[in-house]
Symmetry: C2
Subunit: 883 residues, 2 copies
Amino acid sequence: MTKYVYMFAEGNATMRNLLGGKGANLAEMVSLGLPVPGGFTVTTEACNKYYDDGQEIAPEVKEQILEALKKQEQLSGKVFGDPEKPLLVSVRSGARASMPGMMDTILNLGLNKEVVEGLAKLTDNPRFAYDSYRRFIMMFSDVVMEISKDHYEEELERIKEREGAKLDTDLTDEHMKEVADRFLEIYKEHKGEAFPQDPTEQLLLSIEAVFRSWNNRRAIYYRRMHGIPGDWGTAVNVQEMVYGNMGETSGTGVAFSRNPATGENQLYGEYLMNAQGEDVVAGIRTPEAIDHLNDLMPEVYQEFHDIAERLEQHYGDMQDLEFTIENGKLYVLQTRSGKRTATAALRVAVDMVESGMLSKEDALLKIDPSQLDALLHPTFNPDALAKATPLAKGLPASPGAATGIVTFTADEAYEEHQNGKQVILVRTETSPEDIQGMNVSAGILTSRGGMTSHAAVVARGMGTCCVSGASECKIDEKAGTLTIGDKVFKSGDWISLDGTSGNVYEGQIETQKAELTDDFKKIMEWSDEFRTMKIRTNADTPADATTARTLGAEGIGLTRTEHMFFEADRIFAFRQMIVARDVEAREKALAKILPIQKDDFVGIFEAMKGLPVTIRLLDPPLHEFLPSEPEQVKALAEELGMEEQKLQNIINDLHEINPMLGHRGLRLAISYPEIAIMQTEAIIRAALEVTTDEYPVIPEIMIPLVSEEKEIEFVRDVIVKRADEVIRESGKKLDYQVGTMIEIPRACLTADRIAMHADFFSFGTNDLTQMTYGLSRDDAGQILETYYNEGIFENDPTARLDRAGVGKLMEIGCELGRKTKPELKIGICGEHGGDPSSIEVCQELGFNYVSCSPFRVPIAKLAAAQSALKQREDKAHMTPTTV
Amino acid sequence: MTKYVYMFAEGNATMRNLLGGKGANLAEMVSLGLPVPGGFTVTTEACNKYYDDGQEIAPEVKEQILEALKKQEQLSGKVFGDPEKPLLVSVRSGARASMPGMMDTILNLGLNKEVVEGLAKLTDNPRFAYDSYRRFIMMFSDVVMEISKDHYEEELERIKEREGAKLDTDLTDEHMKEVADRFLEIYKEHKGEAFPQDPTEQLLLSIEAVFRSWNNRRAIYYRRMHGIPGDWGTAVNVQEMVYGNMGETSGTGVAFSRNPATGENQLYGEYLMNAQGEDVVAGIRTPEAIDHLNDLMPEVYQEFHDIAERLEQHYGDMQDLEFTIENGKLYVLQTRSGKRTATAALRVAVDMVESGMLSKEDALLKIDPSQLDALLHPTFNPDALAKATPLAKGLPASPGAATGIVTFTADEAYEEHQNGKQVILVRTETSPEDIQGMNVSAGILTSRGGMTSHAAVVARGMGTCCVSGASECKIDEKAGTLTIGDKVFKSGDWISLDGTSGNVYEGQIETQKAELTDDFKKIMEWSDEFRTMKIRTNADTPADATTARTLGAEGIGLTRTEHMFFEADRIFAFRQMIVARDVEAREKALAKILPIQKDDFVGIFEAMKGLPVTIRLLDPPLHEFLPSEPEQVKALAEELGMEEQKLQNIINDLHEINPMLGHRGLRLAISYPEIAIMQTEAIIRAALEVTTDEYPVIPEIMIPLVSEEKEIEFVRDVIVKRADEVIRESGKKLDYQVGTMIEIPRACLTADRIAMHADFFSFGTNDLTQMTYGLSRDDAGQILETYYNEGIFENDPTARLDRAGVGKLMEIGCELGRKTKPELKIGICGEHGGDPSSIEVCQELGFNYVSCSPFRVPIAKLAAAQSALKQREDKAHMTPTTV
């Protein structure tokens, strides 16, 4: 029979998956001989079984719980429900990963009318007994029966007011008894039946409630944010109560073994005397700093200090501990790895390595790569921020802090920036035409669009702060007003954005630049030492390329050429090209763009001197480059010297029902080879101009959207023909590569054929994910919301790579590609390239590199190192046991 | 070294892939001892090598050709280029599959100034010699040098006119010499150099030209129409010339071993005396029926008659032969399986089985299933058609013939039909709102949209004749005019459509109904005997269901429920449902639809009594049900009693950038479970109403667009809950199934998980193909055109299943699905379900059934039988040789 319940003494720290983090650590502490109140853990498997069985605790699980309870009675010499020697317990959740505050806890369980009186007698402390009882009634009502705490707290306040008591501790034992009686009445009013008196019934209902809390809305949200799978389930810990509220030699507190804000190696925390844990959090009484305990109870302090140090050593990580002092005796109730700021995380890692406590490998594995983001972007001055109140909240689309004057169009932003102003671009949503204005803005605010909207994606690429989808912001671009509540902002008014939280503030808030600390540099060095994948960047401009290089990029994995066409000096020629009705007219227009485009590439090649650069041929459908509003169409028609109706007809012809599945990518290069020829020529000429013997440029020309071998064969021929001509004419030598994006399911499925014509593969997981799911991220907003709420999706597959579906296609693509060319260079250039969990998949599949936006390069480096280390570990474990 | 050239005596009929059909059959006839002029075949591999080598004949291939030529000289005792004993040859294409008239032929090769004189002397027939020479010059110019034949024919006409000659045969030998001389001059005028005199050069250039002709535009088009892969290549046959133009005891002809129009068992063909093959085709002189040859040259006739019979017996199929009589001696130049009408195909098959010549299996394998289509639809009376001239040509979107009066809107069509008129619906393109009008029309004509446009798909489903994308037709729906050239048609004018050819005719042309012959029924019976897959139909109405049942459908594989919502009695309630802002209002609107929808299902269940019926829940995005034109929006707002702007806002909110990847399918059922609940209730209630002990109804509820296990789990729960409630309330017993469409790549990749919640899988290959290719068929028109022209695609993957990509995903889906449920029922309900080559894939993957539009049921039956037979054969061949 499956074992669903473990006494603490039966477990240890390696059983985290089964016992949850809290349960495993309690067991470990018991085995270390630390003062831990006794108890047992109901496993995560029991939780999953509970859901599988239609939310019911199966008889065999119930039986094991009661058996464990029996054992705990024997160990403690106390008996559940016995007024003479009552056993009281806490019931707490404990998942595999820590999810602080997301699930539920019940304390003082086991009390009823008789037991509370017994406890009063036994402790000679009726105030304590009734205080515990009223707390239990309220918690049980809230957590198990979903009766709001408010009803109880109002009643408590009423009695305190009546008695003129400021604090709970000002109430007498008689008052506390009255409170408890009133609470029992409130319960009956709401449930229509009396509060359950049978402690065993209380226990089973509470365990069930903790199981249920695994799927409450905030837990689901937390899991999505942190990539925790819903099928892990939570364990439940049932532990004998010890009491911090027994009087002035009792107390309770929490502490970190190091400072979680700075990483400084010094015990850090706070405590309250004569209180239970919830009081510390509730903030009614102000807790004391942990140092003071040294003055009050020096022996207890020293014992705790030593335990904290010992646990840190034992786990090799900074610990977050909960403790209770009952009548002068110390108990440790919990230990876990402490959450910490990015700064602290790096500091702790470096310190622990330097002190010899951890190896570099272990230290790296303990840092959450996504935390690094916070260190790479400007932040608000904390003092200035403390005085500001957010007016609205949008999505934290691109991190950092920004302050500037409101502008409503890309042109306005550009002009004001030319005038030396710091600007925020405020738009309903952005489009590719806004690129120049976005480029000069300190921050971008949109009222529509999600985390993967145009504004969000482009801003992240640029490292520009962006708040997207702030629906409280009513933006009237024509009138030039931004209205939030009853505040109206016009062009020139100051606002501030926090792209890390999504907050929007009124006025100017001072920002401070990000600085890369020595700790940061050291962590990067160590990452470089262990990772096996290269880290490239997605960069469309020399400025982006330079930023990325500073942050450690080892090449460019994706230069999109379409943004270039929107710039003022060429958009007109490009539009002439689009409306041209024959090849000659198109070529004439392209000839105007050629030298400008060549200069773009020269800038990028110079910035990346000596490093590889992948340039993707034009990808988006042509209609994206033409206006849609009648006024703009009219203006463009005049500019082009053509009839408005004729231009409108061309625009109508280019219209597509599903543009994502339409005429774009290499389909353009096949319909209009002259575009690919021009781009090839620009790339090769630029490379010839920049290349030197010392720093040879080896351009990698990337063909987007292949789905069939013959497509790439065709386009490759076009490219090679022109490239070789240009090289021959130059009389110089130049190597170049021609590869392709793998972003259509069929490309993965026929990768063996496609690889015959490709020098490299770069997985475009943005489109690949959308096509594999049949879900357009432009249209997914409402669907995803519903899916999260119903627990159908746990996270957005366009942000976190879906291993089961998209990952399987990628696996097929890699295997087939390398079957044809064992040394095929494989990388990724979708948004996933900067996501740690996705990087792990890339490592697993044997990628040569990942490419991400410049500001995610450090994150990718650390994540790649971690992935490599994990893989090494997995392989080491596999060797002896598997075939 | 690879052997690229085979003497006829070295080959046989089984070497078709290497030698092409013509070459293999020539070799076979040689081995049978038939009178075949000698020669050799350059293989299809040589053709592929020619293309691989950049369109050049490799030295080793050249060498082998010259060697074979030497051998042929020895065998014939003649010498290439020797005026004393000249060897002359024909050079003809010959692919694996017959592609009549698509590629090029050159006759009389080997002639030059000296040889022609030698030939004149040798034969004592200068007229013959110069006639042959001038023919050779013209053919070589046309085929090898791309100089238009017109230049030559004009010159010949000029000389004939000058001499008052009516026929070529009226010209004297002097005239012929003059013609040949003039032809040489014309050649020089166009090429700037003299006609090549070296026979070897002539030969190699001609072989190259035949290779090239494999990729001429009409050959590519033919291959696409017939599903012939471009990488097969063509072989080239070089054969000693024999001459039908040597005088009155010479002649040439073609004949079929049976009548190719009716299938009657009787030699059928025609011939011309004193002529070469091209004269028979050219139609300047009228050929004689083959019977007459019996009077003229009874021995030759008898010999030919016997050869035809012997070859038919030998190949077990009706033969199409070419022959030449040279000075009274018969030569057979070619034999192949004869093309025949559908009627003839069935007749021949039945006759051959009944006469014991073929087994049923072999007979079935010889019929082209797609030919059956012609037998199932009305056709024009041939006499009436002979008098009509087509005004325009569109795409043959849905077969059959139709005549009726022009109507420009669905409402107009409906009204005129109510008035007892026969109507043709004429629209730029159709949309789902037109469904009722389409339903009553005899034919549908659109000026836009391809073979898979809305009009085409719906019309095929209904079995209604449709010509789509007839771009010459200018349709002004507002003005109510259809303009073709300078003809203008108004409402009420008669036109006629041929959906099999795509032709549009003026006026009323008499049509005749299709009748199912006894041969047809017999072939269907035999198909039923051998096929292992069931054939179901896609039917949305009781009428469709009845039609399909008559044609042999064994159930419904797809009932789309969305068409139902467009009907006049419910569209309003459905729109109320869409614009409802809360669940109650939605449920209220749905309650109005419930009884109507239930009646729909009752009708279908009754029509399919005793056979399974799969009903798909609502699939398209909701915006498809709302109007887009401002006027219509205004009208609907009034009808709904809501502000126009409010309705417009709802429409805007529902707008999607990529609707194919948007909020539809089971995503609707998750957002609005009340819709799925209403549909479930309607289905179950209908089933309860119709079901009897004798004919139990087992409804199969199909969930569209699954991509993730938890989606189907959710929707299945919703369905099962309501279904079980309704059944329980009824007090009756009813079995039902819940399955899903597999139409998203991720569904294939995670089919093991999805199968846990599905009673059946039905592959929706329309969407699956589009997502696997990343290509929307709504937007693919121009792309496909370019792709065909560049040889990138050989056919439309939405019409013919792509085995390499989409098929691989399906294979994964089947394997994973059956891993979870070995007995999982698997079918297909996309357009591919009626396509023979796609049906073969379904057989290979072990499908239980295919489902197709009613009129394709017989085609599917035959194709399924063929697939089963082929599979049986493949397995039989595999047993002894593979592991």
